[in-house]
């Protein structure tokens, strides 16, 4: 990846906000977005009038059932009368939204930008999974009537087979994340469960079982991103965006090796280069890794080069990825514990790293000192990786 590192303007995050993550929220999508934006602005000590531009992230329009969802969300996102833009890379959108916020500020055009992500999945009938019937190639794949869980089951199977990973080792991720989420005030699916609970839960598509997978959720998240001069004025503890990276693999998912997310490695290398990180395993202190399924946390740790190929289950088993471990992964509780309103879930991860780096995560604060954190999301046809690296002030 050729990158030009002559970046002119530093960008800081100075506030974050989150709604509850729940199924069947009564709030409209606009109200959810505003709830998160209002909290983020208040935490930054800013008012909506201070905001110069708005970046909206939301995944398929079909969830909320609105065409041009960015337009629909623009008032709830604080975008009235402002440059407002919705960005979109499927499930990777949540981490991509602050990446777009980063370039709004880093371009020198704006000093104060809101990045907000919203998803309201539960109105989709008869079940949100039906929205995914329309993500396939309309000629080759859609007529098969595919379900999204089917292809992730294929990927999980391939990953487990390639590295000889046992289901009980994968299940440890679900146990860890749901337990972490017990300390998250917005969490939807927190719980004290055991590996046995996961292994005995309903089989959806083998090897995916009910407790391997994150729930259907509604929710929103927002952060405030500012230029260096504004950051210095507002706070003594800005969190700097030091690296961004993303990459898309080919549409033709059937032609790639599902055991390793190469596209994520490409995205991570872009972000690491920008952040001047040579050894991510040593230099990343805490990470929020995308975990819509338990195996994905492991898969993504390897793609991010936080573990060698096939090593992530071993690190998990040894407790390295626990909050008090050497490499805490998903101290928030992740998508498995906090919930998965798709785009909002990714931005929730960025918010968690923001709070961790400011030592404001309360009971969720990881034990080790933290200076550099990473958040990552994933989406499309098992195809896109989005990565952001942040450092404390």
């Amino acid at each position: 990846m050729k990158t030009n590192l002559n970046i002119k303007n530093r960008v800081a995050i100075v506030g974050a906000g989150l709604t509850l993550f729940r199924r069947r929220m009564l709030d409209t999508p606009k109200e959810l977005a505003w709830g998160a934006v209002k909290m983020a602005l208040e935490s930054a000590g800013l008012d909506i009038k201070d905001v110069e531009a708005v970046v909206i992230g939301s995944a398929p329009d079909a969830f909320d059932g609105v065409h041009m969802k960015g337009e629909y969300l623009s008032d709830g996102s604080g975008g009235i009368g402002k440059p407002t833009m919705r960005v979109y890379v499927g499930g990777g959108t949540g981490v991509f939204t602050p990446i777009a916020g980063w370039w709004h500020v880093a371009s020198g055009l704006f000093d104060v930008v809101i990045a907000v992500a919203e998803e309201k999945m539960s109105p989709a009938q008869p079940h949100p999974q039906y929205v995914f019937k329309h993500i396939w190639d309309p000629i080759i794949e859609r007529p098969l009537g595919l379900n999204l869980i089917w292809i992730f089951a294929m990927e999980m199977h391939r990953y487990m087979y390639r590295y000889n990973i046992k289901k009980e080792d994968v299940a440890l991720v679900s146990v860890k994340n749901k337990a972490n989420a017990l300390d998250h005030p917005a969490a939807q699916a927190a719980g004290k469960i055991t590996v046995d609970d996961v292994l005995k839960s309903e089989i959806l598509v083998w090897p995916v079982q009910r407790l391997d997978i994150s729930p259907v959720s509604d929710g929103a998240a927002a952060i405030v991103m500012v230029s260096e001069k504004i950051a210095r004025r507002l706070t003594d503890s800005p969190v700097w965006v030091e690296g961004v990276g993303w990459a898309l693999d080919s549409t033709h998912w059937t032609n790639r090796d599902l055991s390793y997310p190469k596209y994520l490695e490409v995205a991570a290398r872009m972000a690491y280069k920008m952040a001047n990180i040579e050894n991510p395993r040593k230099e990343i202190d805490v990470a929020e890794v995308y975990d819509p399924f338990d195996y994905k946390e492991l898969h993504h740790m390897e793609g991010l080069m936080l573990a060698r190929k096939g090593e992530a289950p071993i690190l998990t088993k040894e407790g390295i990825t626990q909050r008090d471990g050497d490499l805490p992964i998903n101290p928030s509780g992740g998508l498995l514990g906090v919930g998965n309103p798709i785009a909002a879930a990714g931005l929730m991860k960025v918010a968690e790293i923001f709070w961790q780096l400011r030592y404001e995560a309360g009971k969720r604060q990881v034990k080790k000192p933290v200076y550099t954190g990473l958040a990552q999301a994933w989406g499309d046809l098992m195809q896109v990786g989005t990565v952001i690296i942040m450092r404390g002030g």
Binding site: M68, V89, S107, T251, Q383
Partner: protein
Amino acid sequence: MFEAASRAYADAGIDDPRKTVDAFVTCEEDFWSGISIFDEFTPDQLGGVYKPVYTITSDGLIGLASAYMKIRTGLFDIVVVEAHSKASEIITLNDIINFAYDPIYNRPLNLNPYFLAGLEATKYLHKIGGSRYHLSLIVEKNKTNALKNPLASYASKITTEDVNKLKPIIEPLNPLDIAQPIDVSIVVVLARSDIAKKFTDRIVWIDGIGWATENPSIENRDWGNAAYARIAANMAYKLADIKNPAREFDMAIVDDKISYKELEHIEALRLTGGKNVLRLLEDGEFNIKGSLPVNPHGGELGVGWALEASGLVAVLEGVYQLRNEAVGRQISAKKIVIQSWRGIPTTTGAVAVLTIDN
């Protein structure tokens, strides 16, 4: 997409975009494409596999703004912008547009979605003292201009009398006041200034760009004023150091998805210099040989409505004009303004100032 991208790369002198291009932007809405998560289907045909590729759910000119910002960061040298329309595959276009209305307050009315345009056109014509005749003048001008544009699908040798004869579908608008859909893909290659100079000596510069959303609520927006275009123009003019827009541009391409919008946008872009926009129209000042040619390519009324590629249709014409390649409709232009609007029911639009060196 592949065909348009291949032509753009050839035009820019890019041999292998997989090595040369740093990022790719595509512009599309899921509901237009009939695919959930449309951006899955973008990287291969652009040369973007394993590259930073993303979609903005907006017009191509806002995609251009997104690419412009990325280059300004210093992280990216060359960024490609793609937008397209495959409107011919949409069986129920008006029903899709209706899904953009507020699902609680507006959509249950189940009206022809152009009711909003009819109401706003009525208010705007009342405000400026215009009439049906003025709308017909715009239709006549743009469809006639389009006769000289080989890319135009709705060119016609038509008169104001022909237009006036048609029955309105939404008072005061008749079918010729509303741009009809086309299929198209347009790809634009952007580069940092020093890099661009290595590729070509016919560089079209983006001197300024701006975009804005006014208010999605149809009950609370500023009707008949195109505030979104005004805000976007202010941003673009500030970047381009435009002090007197009425005098500084050699031509303008403004959104005319619905005929009255051309006048509304001309006013919002402050192109009248305080003169009455209706008199300027009547006097032919917006014709190809007028003092400020507007939509010499035929606008969307003549070329067609390219969905999210509308803004890039304007960019394409701007590039042809500035590079002296607009055969048959060429205007001597060194500095132009282009503007786009996302169509009903939105209040989102963008403005760009494009120039070419002498």
